[in-house]
């Protein structure tokens, strides 16, 4: 186990001690609990999360209204939002398996939303965007120093909204509005209905619906988050947590001292880091092969490689 897991100071299996929060969370409620704690402690004064259109319609001051058609009902379509309370965090908890451009709010968070200490959750690529913005703040005036807590979530791939629509409504034969939860795990795409029905799709069905931009992605476990988390490696209902930066270390220590999480040593849980490492390596190897293939994609013509 090496570079594929990124740099980290500590790694544990963890779960929120807040039972109410866990009901809304995807896995161990790490992201929502961390932000709720950071809001209470004044570590952040708002967090950028992936809310829904329903949330946006009810809380127009928490989102940026662009040309999105809010009259059209689109369940499970994420809308980036800036939230300031636990109730709002819970309304935005849970994974939406389609693109939520959270970084789009990063600058505005420090402008019309008036935040001095911004929290942001995002996929590994979004953490890359955040760190590039801090080192090369080309169009991000006064943003870098305002980023107080960046929480990364593991990510194998993401989907356009229309892909999720097609997967759930055509392949799983369920209405999107009747879905309670979606999950990718144990080699399957799971769709849980509000009435208790469960449909599973093999990942070979979902692959062709993936966002193509994900196929050059070389980060599985959000190497650049202050803290990063995902379900893989830990038992059901628990999360694997990497504490990576000085900021992450300090926030995690305070949250632990305040009893926000219960933890187990990662070495003691099944399937443990070995599986995280295996999946990370699989993703990186596959996508490095894609990058290689792009070099000879045409006849003497390459596709562009973003990595220098």
């Amino acid at each position: 186990m090496g570079a594929e897991l990124g740099k980290y100071k500590s790694c544990v299996s963890a779960r929120s001690t807040d039972k109410e929060l866990l009901k809304c969370a995807q896995d161990g409620g790490i992201v929502s609990s961390l932000f709720a704690f950071a809001l209470d402690e004044g570590i952040i004064d708002g967090a950028i999360v992936a809310a829904t259109k329903e949330f946006a319609a009810k809380n127009p001051s928490k989102v940026i209204i662009d040309s999105t058609n809010f009259d059209m009902i689109e369940p499970w379509r994420p809308i980036p939002a800036i939230v300031n309370t636990k109730a709002e965090l819970l309304a935005a908890a849970g994974t939406k398996y389609n693109i939520s451009p959270n970084v789009a709010l990063l600058k505005e968070a420090t402008r019309s939303f008036g935040l001095d200490k911004v929290g942001i959750v995002g996929t590994p690529c979004q953490m890359q965007a955040v760190r590039k913005a801090q080192l090369y703040p080309i169009g991000m005036r006064d943003v870098g120093a305002s980023i107080a807590l960046a929480v990364g979530i593991f990510c194998m791939e993401n989907f356009p909204y229309q892909s999720i629509l097609q997967l759930v409504e055509d392949h799983a034969a369920m209405k999107l509005e009747s879905v309670k939860k979606m999950e990718i795990g144990k080699g399957k795409f799971w769709v849980y209905g509000k009435r208790g029905q469960v449909v599973q799709l093999p990942l070979k069905v979902t692959h062709k619906y993936e966002q193509p931009g994900c196929h050059v992605c070389l980060d599985y476990v959000a190497n650049l988050g202050d803290i990063s988390t995902g379900s893989v490696g830990s038992p059901d209902g628990w999360s694997t947590v990497f504490v990576r930066s000085k900021i992450g270390d300090s926030v995690w220590a305070k949250a632990m001292a305040a009893g926000v999480f219960e933890t187990q040593p990662i070495e003691k849980v099944k399937p443990g880091l070995e599986l995280v490492s295996k999946l990370a390596n699989e993703k990186i190897t596959k996508n490095k092969a894609t990058l290689e293939a792009r070099k000879t994609f045409g006849v003497g013509k390459a596709l562009r490689n973003p990595y220098i």
Partner: protein
Amino acid sequence: MADKITLGYTHLSGCTGCTVALADNYAGLLTLLDKYVDLKYMPTLADARHVQKVDVSFVEGSVCINDKLAVEELKETREKSTIVVALGGCACYGNITRFSRGGQQNQPAHEAYLPIGDLIKVDVYIPGCAPTPQMIRNVAVMAYLLLKGTKEQKDLATAFLTPLMKLTEKTEACFCELMTQVINQGLCMGCGTCVAACPVNAITMEYGKPNGERDLCIKCGACYSQCPRSWFSFDVVENYEAINEAIMAALQ
């Protein structure tokens, strides 16, 4: 004085927004001038205004090819500087001056403006309208390390500046770069960074991909340069914490 780098500032057809952005480093600017940089000439912030021999020159503004003096000043800047930095969207890409049709008092015949890279070789770009104080600061510190640092610091500065050097291969930018170099190339993953970077809010996300209001775009190049899929250096960005700390420590 001996271990400072010398800096010049050539001001062509720019709105002084870049100058203001530099000044907006406040105490950081004073520390820069105190410890690292000897400002040799600059129309607004120094007594000397004419181009001199320097290690690094910043050029603000595009160059009007109908303005003999401006063209001469730009060429002289190139001859007398080791490193030329195009500061801001106008110097890099023409930016808002691309829309000029001339006819303005008191020089109605001044109508044709070019990014400076169309007339001289440029070494480093700092895009954006306006460029940000923090980006100017970071490049200034890195330029210092490149010229005066230890072997290790030189390596870091080279790695940091390389993408900004590569940007100089092009003198055109607009929202279209996101289409042609990112989306059309199958690289966009919908992070939304471009939306945040645009100074005129010309970009919105439509179902996870950026959509540009092309009539609003002023051609500053910020969206493309800020996009993590335009260029991304693992060597540099993975060390973000140490580099940020080093820059902040240098400015103490």
